[in-house]
Amino acid sequence: MPMAAQVVVVGVTKKQAAKLIRRNLNRTKVVIAFLGLVFSMLFIGSSNAAVLPIERADVLYHSYEGDGVTIDGPSVLLRKNIAGKVSVSANYYVDTVSGASIDVRATASPYKEIRKEKTVGFDYLNEKTLLSTSFTNSSENDFEANSVYVGISQDFFGDLSTISLSYSKGWDVVGRRGDESFEEEADRQKFGLGFSQVATKSLIVGFNIEHISDQGYLNNPYRSVRFLDSTTDRGFSFATEKYPNTRSSTAYSINANYYLPYRAAIYGDARIYSDTWGIKAQNVKLGYIHPIEDDWIFEVFLRHYKQDKADFYQDLFSRPDEFNFMARDKEMSTYTGLTAGISVSYEWQFSQTAIFKKSAVHFEWDYMKFDYDDFRDATAQTPVGEEPLFGFSANVLRIFASIWY
């Protein structure tokens, strides 16, 4: 490969250089690169320093309850800034899973498991640029995931514009409870591009693009597909899912934050998503933040999510080896999700010169509702293929205390 590149480099003029670049980029990428170049050309001005993330410590209790499953646990975050140039952070997070979701209830019995995740992060600020990196390890008895993240963000045009690039690589080792010999691997890469712009004294807008590609063993070893089987009482049998061993996706999102004159804020974001498995999704979120005095902050939001199924998804197949790829994981199906959330927090302001400057307690509750268009409740006692379409609701809690120093 290097030889070919050298042959190309010799005697290439600027015009030929331009032609080569265009030919090698497909249309979507050209649009994105075009945008990046346009912005870099338009916004020239004196660059001022960006800021490090704020120093703080948080202790959170999280809980998810829905579809027969309860997942809860703590999450602790600590961040310390050093010499105004470096910020170090550490997060310890635990999920304790108990119960059984519809997928598990159809094929197996409830279980209990613990997942522990540790992250260390490091940020470096140099005048105009913020470099961030983090390492994460997630560990449970049948899954081990490691990932590394690097990001760079640049403020320019009088600190009105911020451009950021990010890259993340992950390595997963997938196991299966009760099957010691089962061990598969999956790798993941994420590329992100973000742009944020101060539009007015009260409005910030931004957009993000993220391209993710996975490769390896990508299905869930506990999920099964079902196929018509007249030899059984129920009329169907189960077989392990078969997924492609690559997946590539692109998501585009825009967001905005607007400051209301009486000290409140409204915000919104929207995203469109598509991938090589045929899944297409869109979601939109709208929220409102209302502080009272210096102490209370109330927030409400509404989020709508809609997804079209993966090409190889079906609730019921005709035979066990009907296609090369088969899935029945409800996250691959056609469905809509609606989430409504409210939150309230109370702050205590201490002195700006004291060691501890501020502390707060927060209570956040989200209500989620999922309705599936082509996933049926296989535990229902009805003729095969006529089971009711599945749907469930979940309650998510976040209760935490924070301190700023």
Binding site: Q154, G158, Q352, T353
Partner: protein
């Protein structure tokens, strides 16, 4: 054909799969952006070296303070706001400087740019300062000095000329100001 173009071509013309080619365009974008930023020179502030624009602002004790009346003193004008993080660290550092140099002909004027004067107390209630605090609620004086960062520190010599214009504040910048003050005192 420069080194930069050569690098661009080399990185683009290698054949690859979808994920690697996406990596390519992202690398290209990053490369283009870093080169763009590297070739931008910082825009020099128009008032550096010139006569300092005069202004009159209301001060915390009720009276008005005029910059030209400070002629004969070295004046450190600092533009700050209650919502600005570095300002919180900067004010105590200025207080120290003031305690040391006030009797040696140095004046500090802290110009608060909050839209409402009471907001200044968010910091002033916690940080004791003995130098005058002025209020530029309309932002006119900030515009006059083309303030391009928060905070901004301007050093004016005994003849009323702007000698230093420092955008932003990092821990240790007060040493730069002290050095500049000492130099101006020797003139």
């Amino acid at each position: 054909m420069t080194k930069m173009n050569r690098a661009l071509i080399t990185s683009i013309s290698l054949n690859s799969s979808s994920s690697a080619s996406l990596r390519q365009w992202l690398m290209t974008s990053a490369l283009v952006l870093t080169i763009t930023f590297a070739s931008i020179s910082a825009i020099a502030n128009p008032t550096s070296g010139d006569q300092s624009p005069d202004f009159t602002l209301k001060s915390r004790d009720g009276g008005n303070i005029k910059l030209s009346e400070q002629r004969g003193n070295i004046v450190l004008v600092n533009f700050w706001a209650s919502w600005c993080g570095p300002c919180r660290e900067e004010l105590p550092a200025f207080e120290k400087l003031y305690q040391e140099y006030q009797d040696l002909g140095v004046e500090i004027l802290a110009v608060n740019v909050d839209s409402e004067a009471e907001k200044a107390n968010v910091l002033l209630d916690d940080i004791e300062v003995s130098f005058p605090v002025l209020f530029d609620t309309s932002g006119e004086v900030s515009q006059l000095y083309d303030v391009s960062a928060m905070p901004t520190t301007v050093l004016v010599d005994r003849d009323g000329n702007v000698r230093l214009l420092h955008p932003g504040y990092r821990k240790g910048d007060e040493k730069k100001y002290e050095k500049a003050i000492k130099m101006l005192m020797r003139e």
